[in-house]
């Protein structure tokens, strides 16, 4: 690897430096700037769906508003994270998000912080804000590729192909990463269900303590992917550590 190249620029007047190629939002967050965001996660690639991380970037005397999560850092740019224009745009976005997903605590909190408590738009109550985090984590991190965006425009949603979740390993990464908690996981007896994708899998019972700890299908999938010995998951990680 070549040596890391640094770029220097300003955020709200503060001189900062960052590695070339990194995006503006994580850099700004590292420096302690508070920029609201819903669709950004350090584990997955940037996508720019929620648009809450708006900032103003001034370059060569021209200023434009852009999403910081998808803006690669550059030399000599000047970034403003908190202007009247940004606040106005963000409030509108939050009203739209509230209309779509009024029950989500995170959105309620972010909206309240921005001074938005009610929305002028008709409530849809879909809960899913199409941020794409679940789809990205499934594709990029887990590599199960069980779900993807389907359809387009007002019919766009995240779903398994043909609504048949055959590739889902019920790992729960999408459950964990979802900012609106609209993907739920339930465990009953020795079965785990990812409610939104309608995926139910039988869980492996630990040979030591007897408790079911993870879906069989998932464990076999990991063994296959990582070329682990077949009996690698006979006992659960807890027993394994103690044993």
């Amino acid at each position: 690897m070549s040596e890391k190249e640094l770029v220097r620029f300003k955020i709200d007047g503060l001189e900062v430096e960052a590695e070339r190629g990194s995006m503006l939002l994580p850099v700004a967050l590292d420096y302690g700037f508070e920029i609201p965001h819903l669709c950004h996660h350090e584990a997955v690639s940037p996508y720019g769906a929620c648009r809450l991380c708006l900032v103003e970037v001034t370059k060569n005397g021209r200023t434009r508003m852009t999403t910081s999560c998808t803006y690669p850092v550059e030399d000599v740019i000047e970034v403003s994270t908190d202007t009247d224009q940004i606040r106005r745009a963000r409030r509108l976005l939050l009203e739209l998000l509230l209309a779509r997903s009024s029950r989500a605590e995170l959105i309620q909190r972010v909206a309240k912080e921005a001074g938005v408590t009610e929305t002028r738009f008709k409530a849809v109550d879909d809960d899913c804000i199409l941020c794409g985090l679940c789809e990205r984590v499934c594709r990029e991190v887990v590599e199960a590729n069980a779900i993807s965006f389907v359809n387009r425009g007002d019919r766009k949603e995240v779903a398994p192909p043909f609504w048949d979740p055959m590739a889902c390993i019920a790992c729960g990464a999408c459950v964990y990463i979802c900012p609106t908690d609209c993907i739920k996981m339930e465990e009953k007896g020795d079965e785990r269900t990812i409610v939104r994708w309608k995926r139910t899998l039988k869980m492996q019972k630990c040979k030591s303590c007897g408790k079911p700890f993870a879906p069989l299908f998932q464990l076999n999938w990991i063994i296959d992917k990582a070329s682990l010995p077949k009996d690698f998951y006979d006992v659960c990680p807890v027993c394994k550590q103690m044993g």
């Binding site: 594709r139 590729n145 993807s148 965006f149 389907v150 192909p161 043909f162 590739a167």
Partner: protein, 157 residues
């Protein structure tokens, strides 16, 4: 779709996954829609996640995941056509064929669709049957066109 047919298409595109869109177009051209079985086979052969193929297949309106009829009947509902009564034509066709836009008659003869402008607004309202344009349409004219579509009565445009 026969596997040999799929194989021929794939060979044409050197089994490259960046040609996925073109491959889907070729399948649609032969089958008139994208059969689930073929897509699953395609995923296997290109070693692609089915989710990625499904995402593409549902994104473009040119693709259909349900079988389509032998005849494609498209009503333009763009602004000019709408003003000149496209809704009435659509109503008439919906009643005659007993299907909604996007659906296919149970005998797989007709698929009814709408489009939001074809740039031929001077001919509004426009009806397209099997990619033949029929301008200045009326409900009654649409019905007789539909019935006599074997021996095309119109001059087209």
């Amino acid at each position: 779709m026969e596997n040999t047919q799929l194989e021929k298409i794939l060979k044409n595109y050197q089994y490259q996954d960046f040609n996925l869109l073109a491959i889907l177009q070729d399948i649609q051209a032969i089958e008139n829609y994208l059969p689930r079985g073929t897509l699953e086979e395609l995923a296997k052969r290109l070693d692609l996640p089915l989710a990625r193929i499904y995402k593409l297949a549902t994104f473009y309106r040119a693709f259909s995941l349900t079988p389509r009829g032998r005849h494609l009947v498209t009503v333009c509902t763009g602004t000019a056509c709408h003003v000149r009564g496209a809704a009435l034509i659509l109503d008439t066709l919906e009643r005659e064929l007993e299907i909604k836009p996007g659906e296919t008659t149970p005998d797989r003869e007709y698929t009814l669709e709408t489009v939001n402008c074809l740039g031929s607004c001077a001919l509004a309202p426009l009806l397209i049957i099997d990619s033949k344009y029929h301008g200045k349409m009326l409900g009654t004219k649409a019905l007789s066109l539909l019935k006599g579509e074997e021996k095309d009565v119109s001059e087209g445009s």
